[in-house]
């Protein structure tokens, strides 16, 4: 079995993470922004798994387990919020949701 260099795996994780960040900053549709956040979470999961594999420790996998659980909870609540916002304002465009401005 050949080993993928750890650097490559972490580099992939970094790239996916950066793409997620770009999604959060660039997109205007808050649902797509949310999806980009999920992408970032997955990139981090990959990093954890890669390092766990290399170190031979199960702890990384346990952490990924918990990350997934929390991501599920967060997705549920976040989508609930988006639905409430949509109910009040009839929009999911980020520029229309600037209540906290000066």
């Amino acid at each position: 079995m050949t080993f993928i260099p750890l650097t490559w795996l972490l580099g992939l994780s970094a790239a996916l993470f950066a793409i997620g960040v770009a999604g959060v900053i660039v997109r205007r549709n808050i649902l797509v922004m949310f999806m980009s956040i999920e992408l970032m979470l997955n990139a981090v999961n990959l990093a954890f798994i890669a390092l766990a594999h290399r170190l031979g420790s199960m702890d990384g996998q346990v952490i990924v387990f918990f990350v997934m659980t929390v991501a599920a909870a967060e997705a549920a609540v976040g989508l609930g919020i988006i639905i409430s916002i949509f109910r009040n304002r009839e929009t999911v465009h980020a520029d229309d949701l600037t209540l906290l401005r000066w």
């Binding site: 750890l6 950066a18 960040v21 770009a22 660039v26 205007r28 599920a72 999911v92 465009h93 520029d95």
Partner: protein
């Protein structure tokens, strides 16, 4: 795992991630995200994280993404038409993100990340070992997470239900 498998999966995940960020139709974005998740799941399994990989498919791609899909249908979101504004932010945001990737890769190219492969214990990545870890070392976190899920359920229900409807007031009385 073989190199070619990794490269293949990496390319798929990057392309679909880009797809998430670039596509106009939210449903297309979602599908691209699902593809990314699947590629990553296979990679997890190839890295001997069998349970987690399957969980990724079942929970993440199977449940959470479906939830997203339901919300998109509920809100009846259409594909975005035309430019969506904030051009300056898009421009500078892209540049900053590219800088972030560059910096992170610079960081990773250093020799300090050459970790020796230690060797895996028997049953690494199996369900029994994962369960053992969960119920002994990480018991408190496990229980806390279950409470978190409970809170999330209650919160989601409270957020998403309709406000109680007003009764019609009789004409002439204080409402």
């Amino acid at each position: 795992m073989a190199i070619w498998l990794f490269v293949f999966l990496a390319v798929i995940s990057i392309v679909s991630a880009l797809g998430v960020v670039i596509q106009r139709n939210p449903v297309h974005c979602l599908l691209a995200l699902v593809l990314t998740l699947l590629a990553l799941a296979v990679m997890f399994i190839a890295l001997d994280a069998t349970v987690v990989g399957f969980l990724q498919i079942i929970v993440y791609a199977g449940a959470i993404m479906v939830l997203f899909l339901f919300v998109i249908w509920l809100l009846n979101l259409q594909a975005e038409t035309g430019p969506t504004g904030g051009l300056a932010l898009k421009f500078f945001g892209t540049i900053a993100t590219a800088a972030l990737v560059a910096e992170l890769w610079m960081f990773l190219l250093r020799p300090h990340l050459k970790i020796k492969y230690v060797g895996e214990a028997a049953g690494y990545g199996s369900l029994s070992v994962l369960a053992q870890k969960l119920f002994t070392d990480y018991l408190v976190a496990f229980e806390a997470t279950s409470i978190l899920l409970l809170a999330a359920i209650v919160g989601a229900v409270a957020l998403a239900r309709r406000p109680p409807t007003q009764r019609e007031s009789a004409p002439g009385s204080l409402s």
